[in-house]
């Protein structure tokens, strides 16, 4: 970074840019900021291999934009989440497209994250005083996986509900603290609307905030250490010729980002993401399957049952994660060529291939077991059926109350007819909701039935002042009317 200076593009650049630009420039310093950002020297020059970090930033930006827009319609409550997502997917203009873009975007983040990580690993770019850069990247990896995990529940369909039930159950398997973690994540013993609220807050506020912070740290540490360059380069004191970040690397980065997002857009447009039927916790038949990037873990856990489970769930993953995060501390040599690093590259390949193999095994198991295969086909059909059905709006509470009254006891139903015939609804509103005169809902709590009948026959002075007139009906009709008013809740 020491090589950065502010180059003059041409003589008299300041005059050419004009007074307005200079006015802003003196106050913001945008020019030097841009040069600071764009003139980062890259030893060995720009390469396509370096595009993944910026690619992740573009994808994250796309996730933020689509996520914020989805928030225009989404309601994080077990009662409404599924309805609002169905509304987005089926009714709102471009809703299915934006939701699909957001959903595919989350998978794309994981894919590009793996590419970014593989490139950094194979190029040995974590070497040479880049330990903290690597660790911050590992934390970002965990946060992105956390985003995928928390976002998965939000549609509250069968798939989301049961996958998260399993996910939180796995956390519960951890000895000592597991049960507490599970309860903390779920907001209680069982999955419910509190779980959804917690996942929503994590997905929309907590984890994104952490990601913003970590990205700042990650980029700062990257700039501090400098670009590592090709595998032939010395990671501490680069000797190769440098090329500035702008224009060629910027072009490659942006080109990759644009092509990638355009491809996601096409996918979202032509193969929209579906939504299954609303979560039904009582369904015992449902076979939940996690998103593809969780399949290896899902399969792995199948092999660890009973008392040995702790080894598979905790010990082995912790060892692998520890080795992975601690890599730059353990691998101190400055050698970067992969073929000269057989242990590290071999271990990486084994873990990577094992994960891929576990994923493939999971897929194969599901297709070999006829019971599961049939159930998966059935679930697929149910999802397609739900997607074909037109959007059904959710009845609001007011209409539910009205409907309930109509269904209640016949005396109250008769009372409702009297209420309308006597034009009580003119002032007390349909269903006693009030305006301009008093609300009648829950008035039965204050007045016992005979008292209520009395004031209806002979209104108090206060009531008369408000415009209430005496109700002149038979005793039988009065009983019905009182029953109706008592039923208003």
């Amino acid at each position: 970074m020491a090589t950065i200076s502010v180059p003059n593009d041409a003589p008299g650049a300041a005059q050419r840019r004009g007074r307005v630009f200079n006015w802003f420039e003196r106050r913001i310093g945008i020019d030097s900021l841009l040069h600071q950002a764009l003139d980062e020297p890259i030893p060995g020059g720009a390469r396509l291999a370096y595009v993944f970090g910026s690619g992740l930033l573009f994808l994250f930006l796309s996730q933020i934009i689509t996520g914020v827009f989805l928030g225009l319609y989404y309601v994080p409550s077990a009662d409404h989440a599924h309805t609002t997502i169905a509304y987005i997917a089926k009714e709102v203009m471009a809703g299915s497209f934006l939701r699909s873009l957001h959903s595919y975007g989350s998978s794309a983040m994981v894919v590009v994250l793996i590419l970014h990580l593989a490139q950094t690993f194979l190029y040995g770019s974590y070497k040479g005083r880049r330990e903290l850069l690597w660790v911050s990247g590992c934390v970002l990896f965990a946060l992105v996986i956390g985003m995928a995990f928390t976002g998965y529940l939000l549609p509250w369909d069968m798939k989301a509900y049961f996958a998260t039930t399993i996910g939180t159950n796995i956390a519960g398997e951890v000895p000592l603290v597991g049960e507490g973690i599970k309860r903390l994540m779920r907001g209680g013993n069982d999955m419910g609307t509190l779980t959804l609220s917690r996942f929503f807050v994590a997905h929309v506020f907590l984890i994104p905030a952490a990601i913003f912070g970590l990205i700042a740290i990650h980029v700062y540490l990257f700039r501090k250490a400098g670009a590592a360059g090709p595998i032939s380069e010395d990671p501490i004191a680069p000797k190769q010729k440098t090329e500035r970040f702008y224009p060629r690397q910027v072009l490659m980065d942006m080109g990759f980002g644009l092509v990638f997002i355009a491809a996601l857009g096409l996918l979202a447009y032509f193969v929209p993401v579906d939504l299954g039927p609303k979560a039904d916790p009582a369904d015992t038949q449902y076979v939940p399957r996690p998103e593809w990037y969780y399949l290896p873990l899902f399969q792995w856990l199948k092999y660890w049952q009973g008392s040995r489970a702790i080894i598979g769930i905790l010990v082995i993953p912790l060892i692998i994660i520890g080795l992975f995060v601690g890599l730059p501390f353990l691998d101190r040599r400055l050698e970067r060529r992969p073929w000269k690093r057989p242990v590290a590259v071999g271990a990486f390949a084994i873990v990577f291939l094992s994960l891929a193999g576990l994923g493939a095994l999971s897929y194969r198991d599901d297709h070999r077991d006829p019971g599961i295969a049939d159930q998966l086909v059935k679930q697929r059909e149910e999802t397609e059926q739900f997607m074909r059905a037109s959007f059904e709006p959710e009845p609001s509470e007011a209409s539910l109350a009205a409907a309930n009254v109509a269904l209640a006891d016949p005396l109250a139903a008769q009372g409702k007819a009297i209420y309308e015939a006597q034009s009580c609804n003119a002032c007390h509103g349909e269903g006693g909701v009030g305006t301009p005169a008093g609300r009648l809902i829950a008035i039965g709590v204050k007045l016992p039935p005979d008292k209520l009948a009395d004031v209806l026959k002979q209104p108090t002075d206060k009531m008369t002042a408000g415009g209430m007139t005496a109700v002149e009906i038979s005793d039988g009709e009065m009983r019905a009317l009182v029953a109706y008013i008592n039923s208003l809740k």
């Binding site: 593009d9 440098t242 224009p247 644009l258 857009g265 002032c427």
Partner: protein, 192 residues
Amino acid sequence: MDAKERDLERTQGLDGEDASSKPASPGRRSFLGVLLGIGTASVGVLLSVPLVRFALHPVLGNTTETSLSDLGTVDEFSSITSPVKRLITIEQRDGWRKTVSQKSVYLTRDADGQLRVLSSICPHLGCSIPWSEVKGQFICPCHVGVFASDGSLISGPPPRAMDELKTTVENGRLKVRYQYFRQLVHSKEVIA
């Protein structure tokens, strides 16, 4: 390998280590800048179209309009002589919610024998007007506004006749569009 790589990089026209003193030619830099700008702008515009459509859905789409309510077949009402009260179900959409409510309307005939559908809400202060079979009049219980069987004002404080609702016939079924009207004014004014 190293030498080969360096050769390759040299042919790619890299800047020297002292890049700051020898910037890339302004022509090429600005050309790439323009290319980048155009690419970004076009993808940006392309992606902002669905975003705008998405955000404007409630503004552009008819998401809050009241649907038509069914009254029954036209034949059912062909022989009525005095006003008939009917409860209609109104489904009002509010985004992803719907409010289902019931309102009463009157079917009646005007002087020319044309079928009319009247709102039962008094144009005076909004009370519900019952039909008095005995008197052959609509009499509002609140302030004794009196209307004829076709809804025209006879006496009392109401400023105008009972409000007529728009109807259509679809496949032999009579449908009505329920609306609310401003009270206490002489001319019929739709609200909400």
